[in-house]
Symmetry: C2
Subunit: 302 residues, 2 copies
């Protein structure tokens, strides 16, 4: 039995459009409606027939929905929740896909104190944005973390869990604060570092941008993928998860200083030990199916 009969997706970018495609592929029979604040995105969504009905107001998209998923940047969650407050069906479950959860839970509860809220974070994505970038397999074998506030009915959590399982995801349940600290290290800090190094490389005077691009296969190009992610989404992530990100950044900076000192003083053994330890992490990630086992991510014709 399908966990929901009528699903509304607010925000039809990479994640929203991937959910729509995943529902079509894995839950035929579910009625899908959608809305996006950007009229061009709504047009594209209609042309792609991403959902059964693209509404011109969020309220119209919500009619008879039993699951409403907000797929908007986390900084917009509060405003969107307030905007739909009057039209949200009383028995609908409200969810989202934001990369930070404490601030999202707070914003949703403030705007919709009576709603049943099951926040979700599918740990998946690509560097592309927009309704054309989505695909049904995006969530396959990825983790989706649910962070229901205390007192959320277990049956509501289970229905959302089942929805994500049918999109191909594995489910974990976590407290919002713990989620934010885990993701600060596995996702937010890596993005911040990648954005920084790509910026640093672009600003050098004695090495030209053209040289940086030409010789990027030495490692730099890996960082540019992450640093091509959606700027609005990531601005909001750093502002919303500020405390955890700054804390992880502090630890990273300390570790970097340590390696800097090892290089300055020629401590080869210390460098070798560090570089040996980090190798094992990659092995575990591949063993657990969280990355492509082929060398170089299976790039090109290798």
């Amino acid at each position: 039995m399908l966990p929901f009969a009528r699903v509304t997706i607010i925000g039809l970018g990479l994640i929203g459009s991937s959910i729509a495609r995943g529902v079509r592929a894995g839950m035929p029979g579910v009625a899908l409606s959608g809305y996006d604040a950007d009229p061009e995105v709504r047009e594209t969504a209609r042309a792609l027939a991403l959902v059964d009905d693209v509404a011109d107001t969020p309220g119209a998209a919500l009619i008879d929905a039993d699951l409403v998923i907000l797929c908007v940047p986390v900084g917009a969650i509060g405003a969107v929740a307030a905007e739909i407050a009057a039209d949200l069906p009383a028995d609908a479950i409200l969810s989202d896909v934001g990369s930070c959860k404490a601030s999202v839970v707070e914003a949703l509860q403030a705007a919709l104190p009576a709603a049943t809220i099951v926040p979700a974070h599918p740990v998946a994505g690509t560097e592309r944005s927009g309704p054309e970038a989505g695909f049904a397999a995006l969530f396959h074998k990825r983790w989706c973390i649910l962070t229901p506030p205390e007192g959320t009915p277990a049956v509501a959590v289970e229905r959302v869990a089942e929805f994500w399982r049918r999109l191909g995801a594995d489910i974990d349940i976590m407290a919002p604060d713990h989620h934010d600290r885990v993701l600060a290290v596995t996702s937010h800090l890596p993005h911040l570092i990648a954005y920084t190094i790509v910026g640093t490389a672009s600003d050098l005077e004695e090495v030209t941008s053209s040289e940086v691009i030409k010789y990027s296969a030495g490692g730099f190009r890996d960082f540019t993928r992450i640093a091509a992610s959606d700027p609005t989404m990531w601005r909001d992530v750093f502002l919303s998860n500020r405390e955890a990100v700054l804390d992880m950044l502090q630890r990273f900076s300390e570790d970097l200083s340590e390696l800097q000192r090892a290089i300055r003083w020629g401590k080869g053994d210390q460098l070798f030990d560090t570089f040996t330890r980090t190798r094992a992490v990659r092995r575990s990630i591949i063993e657990q199916g969280q990355d492509d086992a082929r060398p170089d991510f299976g790039r090109g014709d290798h």
Copy 2:
């Protein structure tokens, strides 16, 4: 006409064994001999028939060679050059594949003052190591940078350039110092950052290693690929290119502090501007054929 008739490869790891495979594929008729200091690697190389003859001493591998390529960690270049000094044929060209060039040129000239030296750096690799990891296409459409010392005969440089073109590479010629500054930013700094963040994530107390691995698809896993690179090779790179790496690291740290401050003080516009600028770099890299155009590097079944 083939640029060389008899090529000797000293060091049969990822790069050395890829050169051997590339010569077999693109220059049939070239006689190949090889040597590796590790007896197990020599055994594997024999089993794989990587070269026509795997010698048990470097001297024996050099007989009649007109091109000798040292494919060893840059910290070992000086010692290996001294070891082969007595056996290097007088008319052979000596080359290498090291990731730093100023220290390599210095070490080679000190050990072999009379030799014709054409140092090379193919900007290509994967996170795998050893003779089984190599493949002939590794250098296809990658840049190979030659850094001949002043006074090197142009015809020697051209022969080495032609050799690399036949392995599929494009050629650039650069002064060793400039090479080292360019690669410090496009390769060495990215590796140092990746090693650091993987270390930082492994050492947290409130986020477990198991959580870091599970949720690595949020960005972290990208860094683990680079941080799985060969520890000996990278120890030597940082010790050999110390000054340029420390300089780039200083700039990176300044830029990181700037973003840290923007997060702390909630400067969303500054974050947004930085994240928008970095997006363009990725586009240029893909336009110039230096990375896979598919989202997420074409990972998995996307």
